[in-house]
Symmetry: C2
Subunit: 119 residues, 2 copies
Amino acid sequence: MREKVNLAEKVRVLQGSYAPGIVGYLNDYKLAVVKVEGEFVWHTHDDTDDFFLVLSGRMTIQLRDRNVELEAGEMFVVPRGVEHCPRADEEAHVLLIEPKGTVNTGDAGGKLTAPEVEI
Amino acid sequence: MREKVNLAEKVRVLQGSYAPGIVGYLNDYKLAVVKVEGEFVWHTHDDTDDFFLVLSGRMTIQLRDRNVELEAGEMFVVPRGVEHCPRADEEAHVLLIEPKGTVNTGDAGGKLTAPEVEI
């Protein structure tokens, strides 16, 4: 039987920005925490929506036509197929939910592509 | 394009306990906030896990063999097929994630069964 997860405690285990740590599963979805600081990479997920919930701090989800500014307690779902680029001026902590196997950098790839790691 | 959601603001729209309000979707999953106070009903979801994240306050997810005590920032996924009964001594606010069409009372039914309502 799986245990409860304290998200702040899990964030403390993370190393570096934009390297998500999986803290649980919901059916075939992975539940991950991530530290975000600086700019990520523009990318698209053609096969899935992309869930963000800010746990602490502030972040921006840049879309091509506007910016979505999020603070703690605010959630945004990037629709599938919509190009986006997360950014944070200062470290923020975020809960991510995506289907297992979803690559964090989507179609962009590159050096910020992170493996699926349980923490 | 969908907009961001401030979860605390959405909670203020809710009427009564254990009546979830849908605030968004992630693919074929519904994202809902709910106020919990008092005891819900023992029930099982045979076809899906059941995601709880406490946003404020405290709650207990009673399982047949133990209680899972959750406070703000803590998450628990009830595995599919595991009987459970949420309870809160004082009002708490919770984010729920389940596949669309999942009935809040699972196999139990009864008067606490709530319709799927967007808020």
